[in-house]
Amino acid sequence: MYHASKSDFKTRLQTWLPKLVLSPSLAMVLIFVYGFILFTVYLSFTDSRILPSYGWVGWENYNKLWRLSHWEISLKNLGIYASLYIAICTAIGLTLAIFLDQKIRGEGILRPIYLYPMALSFIVTGTAWKWFLDPGIGLEHTMHLWGWESFEFGWIKDRNLAIYTLVLAAVWQSSGFVMAMFLAGLRGIDSEIMKAAQIDGASNWNLYRRIVIPLLRPAFLSAFVILAHLAIKSYDLVIALTGGGPGRATELPATFMYSYTFTRNQMGIGASSAVIMLMTIAAIMVPYLYAELREKK
């Protein structure tokens, strides 16, 4: 370096001080995130049971994993849960946003009401909904008391339907957030475009379908990415609402990983399931983050 030797102290300080100050954070992330990921990947190829052990077993854990009906159920549940969760949150969020954008009186009160569940923990949400959905004391019981004797709402106790209660509670929690994202998107649209379309004679329906919704594409993408990664990570809500039951009816990969690793002492299999979860999220997040960071340049 020709200049480094010639530069004065202050200039040299300026070139290495920022890097020095950044390095603790960076080291933390590299060790606790990427180091740990590598470690878990490694464990997924070992015969670890109750504690990490280092006997190499190749792909055995993965082979076992894919043969487990428990894992298959978790994946199937995740498929149902994630797709409904994303679809319904998007639909409700978009509808609320478009309706709220019609110069609604009391928007300032409604908006925070739609959004407040986002401030609650999934454990609180789960506790509230668990009880609300309980046929013995919750909604069904109330309807009976109000004289609607034939009303039945026992999804949470039903093996085939319990997964939908998970969707219900999760939608309750997150749809307001999606509403906020779409509303921000709507407010960012140039109002002259809307005026131009109206002068062109577009009906409200066509205005939204042909002009506005296509312009909201970035918001759709962000909503999808955020919701998808939340769905894959869903753990707390299951624990609080159904505990994975009845039976295994609401097991998700996140609960599967936890129980295999820490209660069933199958750490190798637990690790391999965690790796698959990571891969799935990475497949969604990495291209998204890459595109976002590139745009900024």
Binding site: Q14, S25, M28, V33
Partner: protein, 292 residues
């Protein structure tokens, strides 16, 4: 998100009625579960099991609240949620403070002292916010064991700082990216150094983003369950874990009213923050997903 902007969509009377109806129904949907929790947390147990959940209490009692706070059986001890509430406070305050300060400095460096590959480094930090934390549970449990931090509040502080830096860095980076670089250059010519520029020039203008970041970190860390359950399940457990224990593990009669009071207690801090500073909360949510 200003409401002053003029929107030029015209809607008819019937359409408007339908819109209002829909919006009100949805408001009911979001309010109902919480309303029921509040109402039933001040009823005696007999009124809940025997009566209507929608009904207002016939006998108003704060017994369930007192029980949830100080006498209810959590796990094996009849301590109430109080000790766990303080556990959460002792965990949240330092974790939020540290991750916010680190995030601010990182954001400052990544925007005003750019160097080769800084975007890649930032990308690595950012991705760490989105990983499924299951992937780090096993090694983290080991490391905390080795460091002697298992089951302790310090362990949780470390964990939350590590996995919170990504977001706090993101907030400050995006904020400082819009902060005029000419100010930094002017300060350099004026003779201010690396830290002086940060303290004297950027920090005084960082109020709003600091609020956003603190609220976000506070909400996330307070509401965390996975790390709490994995690394501090005993007497060092945070509020969420204790609430879950309270609700799940009661043998014998389920004291629903106490559970509700407990759930509201667990939700209260974040809810208060939301009510007081909702605007910043929303900004944080947005900045965490839609960058730029």
């Amino acid at each position: 998100m200003s409401s002053v902007q003029t929107q030029s969509v015209q809607t008819g009377r019937i359409a408007r009625t339908f819109i209002y109806l829909f919006l009100l129904l949805m408001a009911l949907f979001y309010l109902l579960p919480f309303f029921i929790m509040v109402v039933n947390s001040v009823k005696p147990l007999s009124e809940i099991t025997g009566g209507n959940m929608m009904a207002l209490p016939e006998v108003f009692t704060i017994e369930p609240w007192l029980a949830a706070w100080s006498t209810a059986q959590v796990g094996v001890e009849p301590t109430g949620l109080r000790p766990y509430f303080w556990n959460s406070i002792k965990m949240v305050v330092p974790a939020v403070a540290i991750s916010t300060v680190l995030g601010a400095i990182n954001g400052y460096i990544l925007t005003k002292w750019r160097f080769k590959y800084d975007t890649i480094l930032f990308g690595l930090m950012l991705f760490s916010c989105f990983i499924p934390f299951q992937i780090v549970l096993i090694p983290m449990a080991r490391i905390l064991g080795i460091l002697g931090l298992s089951g302790s509040t310090y362990g949780l502080i470390l964990v939350h700082v590590v996995y919170g830096i990504g977001f706090s860095t993101l907030y400050f980076r995006n904020y400082y990216a819009a902060f005029p670089t000419e100010l930094v250059r002017a300060a350099q010519i004026d003779g201010a150094g690396f830290f002086q520029i940060f303290y004297r020039i950027l920090m005084p203008s960082s109020g709003p983003i600091t609020v956003v970041c603190v609220i976000w970190q506070f909400t996330n860390i307070w509401n965390d369950f996975l790390f709490g359950a994995s690394f501090a399940s005993g007497s060092g457990a945070p509020m969420t874990v204790a609430l879950n224990n309270l609700v799940q593990s009661s043998t014998g009669v389920k004291e629903y009213n106490v559970h509700f009071a407990g759930a509201i207690l667990a939700a209260l801090p974040t809810l208060l923050v939301y009510i007081v500073a909702g605007r910043y909360f929303v900004r944080g949510l947005m900045a965490g997903s839609v960058k730029g």
